[in-house]
């Protein structure tokens, strides 16, 4: 039996009007990867904020013991001194500083305030080797991808001599390959005796690496599972409090004629206008059909969608967009919306919502004409619309006057969807509609998608989660490096098949088919 290094006992944290945590217990053993899972709003982040001292001692009830002594952190500095380091979902790196500068930010390799750059670079190099990142320490953060930035964050934690590493949704914005690399790194750390708390929504990766799993629900500990007890079904049951028979709601597809078609779409990179970013994309979506676009991060899916939606991305765009077989002008966002094309972004905080304003104003934002006469807004009509969509999409909030910045990810996503539903599009492009949201909310989003398809809308859905594409779509396009490299009905698709297309590209796929046909 390995020793326990962290024991949180009876943690209760109350916010005005809400009990965010109620009598939560969590123990972490030396050198284990301990996953904490739960729906959004279950209290995971609050618990981690209590542990890392963001909520100082005295603002919560209960006790924390770390390495045998009781901890009374008054701030994040105290917990870091003890070796507890938290890496938040939103990375805390300064984009225009170098990797080395970021690693030692607030912890500079300095004597009397003068930085020893040689020492800093040498140590940064050592740390980068440890996390398996082959980059020059002088490279600016802004010039490396999110996956590598995540590794820099971990190197930064290592520089602080971390004993317990807390990762909040580390793989949410990583491609599968980068996620795997990150998880392998955690396994490696385990061998060196660094314990890790991993918060994640991705149950498959949790199942892969975790030694134990604690499930939180509604601010309480539901159970802690040992390695041999872990199964996806059991986790889901504990998370949602009921067995979830099917993760995807059933649908009887009623597919009609082609509504939406893109022909020979070609887009150049806005930063390097001589570079072709999207090459000769052809695709179509029929009435009542849900069409998926599979691909890795950076395969050009979002860029393609945004370039179609009012040239919101890219430059030197050529090609045709057809609605009901007729070419339409979608060269500005306003025109695209007017013609009946909507795009719900993958990044709801940056591109989707006005976070300082409330639900009502966000829902009407894309269709103010729908609640106004001659430029004058009808307050009552707007309120009715907002309440109606709040009910339809099941947004959990105190009222439509709640500020969207205070909503959980799933509910924010529902507000974004409501906004576009109210704009009443014929074609709805959904970019990662379930990123970073929990199992229960995902199910609700799928239900909304099904309902829209039933109403005869054409839905184009971009997703990095292949099971989701397989479970929701009727047809799937595969995209890689700005090109469509494959197309198949969902009934014939599998994760392996999609992956193979991505890895090999279309040319080889064709060759292979020829070979197969010949043999």
């Amino acid at each position: 039996m390995t020793e326990t290094i962290l024991e949180m006992r009876g943690i209760t944290k109350t916010f005005p009007g809400v009990k965010a945590l109620q009598d939560v217990n969590l123990t972490v053993r030396a050198g284990e990867i301990h996953a904490v899972v739960g729906e959004n709003g279950a209290g995971k982040s609050t618990l981690m904020k209590v542990l890392s001292g963001v909520y100082p001692y005295g603002t919560y009830e209960g006790s924390i013991h770390f390495l045998g002594k009781e901890c009374r952190f008054s701030g994040i500095h105290d917990s870091e001194r003890e070796g507890i380091v938290i890496i938040h979902q939103e990375l805390a790196l300064v984009p225009l500083l170098s990797i080395a500068e970021n690693i030692f930010l607030g912890n500079e390799q300095a004597r009397f305030g003068v930085i020893d750059w040689n020492l800093a670079r040498r140590r940064a190099g050592e740390l980068l080797r440890k996390v398996g990142l082959a980059e020059d320490p002088d490279t600016l953060i802004t010039n490396i991808g999110v996956g590598k930035q995540q590794l820099v964050e971990i190197a930064k934690a290592l520089a602080k001599e971390v004993k317990l590493l807390i990762l909040d949704e580390p793989t949410a914005s990583l491609s599968e390959k980068d996620s795997d690399a990150l998880l392998n790194l955690l396994v490696e750390f385990r061998e060196h005796g660094i314990a890790c708390i991993l918060i994640s929504h991705k149950l498959n990766e949790v199942g892969k690496v975790a030694d134990r799993i604690t499930v939180l629900r509604d601010g309480r500990t539901i159970e802690t599972m040992e390695k041999e007890q872990i199964s996806e079904d059991r986790i889901i049951t504990s998370m949602v409090g009921r067995p979830l028979d099917d993760r995807f709601p059933p649908r009887q597809p009623k597919i009609g004629d082609v509504i939406f078609e893109v022909r020979n779409w070609l887009v150049h990179d806005p930063v390097h206008p001589d570079r072709v970013a999207i090459r000769n994309v052809n695709l179509n979506v029929r009435r009542g059909e849900v069409v998926g676009i599979a691909g890795l991060m950076g395969s050009g899916r979002t860029e393609f969608a945004m370039s179609v939606f009012g040239r919101a991305w890219g430059t030197g765009v050529s090609g045709e967009v057809l609605l009901h077989g007729k070419p339409v002008d979608v060269s500005t966002v306003g025109r695209a919306v007017d013609r009946g094309v909507a795009y719900a972004t993958e990044d709801r905080k940056t591109y989707g919502l006005n976070l300082i304003d409330h639900i009502k104003h966000n829902i009407s934002a894309a269709n103010l004409k729908g609640v106004s006469t001659a430029g004058v807004i009808d307050d009552i009509r707007e309120l009715n619309v907002a309440n109606d969509y709040r009910k339809q999409t099941n947004i959990r909030s105190s009222s439509v006057y709640q500020v969207t910045g205070n909503l959980s990810g799933g509910n924010q996503q529902k507000v974004v969807l409501s906004k576009w539903l109210f704009a009443d599009p014929e074609v709805l492009i959904l970019d990662e509609p379930t990123r970073g949201i929990d199992v229960g909310a995902k199910y609700e989003i799928y239900t909304i998608i099904n309902r829209l398809a039933e109403q005869g809308k054409a839905i184009l859905m971009i997703s990095s989660e292949m099971p989701e594409l397989l479970g929701v779509c009727d047809r799937i396009y595969v995209m890689n490096e700005g090109r469509i490299v494959g197309e198949m009905p969902a009934s014939e698709a599998s994760q392996e098949k999609i992956m193979r297309m991505i890895v090999r590209g279309d040319a080889r796929e064709e060759e292979e088919q020829k070979v197969r046909a010949a043999s």
Binding site: G310, V337, G352, I356, K391
Partner: protein, 404 residues
């Protein structure tokens, strides 16, 4: 279908009432702060502040700041800043002087030309900000220097005046009394002013009641009735008090009419019109607004054109008040205007701010200027105190936001 997915939602009615109070808490606080400051100076100045002649002066002294604050509110809510408004108003005053005094232009024509000039200045700055994405701070800082210089050049470094009588009326005139003075308790009162005041209050109450009825008829209760009554009673009392004071002096100044119409217009634009809503959406998250089909560039451009026109109007009023255009006109106005908007609760980051707040903010600054001058506080200490009030108001805002 929707009934299946409906959760047991808390009654929207009660929550909208609570949030209505919460949302407006700051505005109520601001009104109370203004009343407290006025009472303080009334006491400190031995009753001079509330003398009819002084109240009238207070309005005249602050009219141009308030008019510019209306435009600045839109600029700041839209996520920008305009440092050039002082120089622009000074420059437009100079243009008016040259046209009327040297070229003998008609005052009405001059006024129109000057407003167009203001709009063109706003457009020339807005173009760089909206379409070329140059930060507004830099563009308008440049504009501040450019138009200060142009005003100096235009006036040849000298004061130009006086203006024709009709033009002076813009600032110094009062509305004529159509009904003749009424004498109440031995005081002759300006009858037309009283009538206008009563009509305004009646209209305000009627609109407030009507919108409340409309909400109730759709099953939403607006705010607790007691709160509704108190709020409207306080506002009506303040308006009537001001009107009574004006009536017992020379009646309503022309400027106050212009100002009142503009305030009402901007309240309507920001609260009820789609263009107002779009400015808030743009200031809150410009990328999300653009991806919702809002033409953010054109909107930014419009906001600066509007600011330019209002700065021009303010410049005309100020010139008419002094009855001369001086190279120093407009100096430092931008700071008072920006301070008024921030005291009124706008956020530097954009997306937050109310017209009513900006107007009350301007009055708070104005009453402090006026009160301290009467008390004989030196100009140096006046600056210190005004600066601290600005800081205090914003600290109060940030503190409240963090607590919530």
């Amino acid at each position: 279908m929707s009934t299946e997915t409906a959760v047991t939602a808390p009654t929207p009615a009660r929550d909208s009432a609570q949030s209505a109070i919460k949302q407006n808490l700051r505005e109520y606080g601001l009104v109370l702060a203004l009343i407290a400051i006025m009472i303080f100076f009334q006491w400190q100045t031995g009753g001079v502040l509330f003398k009819p002649v002084n109240l009238t002066n207070l309005v005249l002294q602050n009219s141009y700041i308030i008019i510019m604050a209306l435009g600045m509110l839109l600029v700041i809510v839209g996520g920008h800043i305009d440092l050039s408004v002082g120089s622009v108003s000074g420059f437009v005053g100079a243009v008016a002087a040259v046209l009327m005094v040297q070229y003998k232009f008609d005052p009405v024509l001059t006024t129109l030309i000057c407003l167009v000039v203001g709009g063109l200045i706003g457009a020339s700055q807005g173009y760089w900000i909206a379409y070329m994405k140059i930060p507004s701070f830099i563009v308008t800082l440049a504009g501040m220097l450019v138009f200060k210089g142009l005003a100096l050049w235009l006036l040849g470094g000298m004061s130009v005046g006086p203006f024709p009588r009709e033009f002076q009326l813009l600032s110094a005139g009062f509305i004529p009394d159509f009904f003749g003075p009424w004498t109440v308790f031995g005081t002759p009162l300006h009858a037309t002013t009283l009538v206008i005041g009563l009509v305004i209050v009646a209209a305000m109450l009627w609109f407030a009641l009507r919108s409340r009825r409309a909400r109730e008829s759709h099953g939403y209760s607006a705010e607790p009735f007691s709160l509704f009554v108190i709020k409207n009673a306080v506002i009506s009392a303040m308006v009537l008090f001001l009107i009574y004071m004006m009536a017992s002096y020379k009646g309503l100044p022309n400027v106050l009419i212009v100002m009142g119409v503009l305030i009402a217009l901007f309240v309507f634009v920001t609260k009820r019109m789609t263009i107002g809503r779009r400015i808030y959406a743009m200031g809150g998250n410009v990328k999300a607004a653009a991806l919702s089909g809002i033409k953010t560039e054109r909107l930014t451009f419009f906001v600066f054109v509007n600011m330019g026109v209002l700065a021009a109007l303010a410049g005309l009023i100020f010139a008419a008040r002094l009855n001369t255009a001086t190279p120093k006109a407009g100096l430092g106005f931008e700071l008072d205007v920006i301070a008024a908007v921030f005291i009124g609760g706008a956020s530097m980051a954009g997306g937050v701010g109310q017209v009513a707040g900006a107007v009350i903010g301007a009055f708070i600054m104005g009453v402090m200027n006026n009160g301290m001058s009467i008390m004989g506080v030196n100009i140096d200490w006046q600056q210190v105190i005004k600066g601290l009030v600005l800081l205090g108001a914003v600290v109060f805002d940030v503190y409240n936001k963090n607590k919530a």
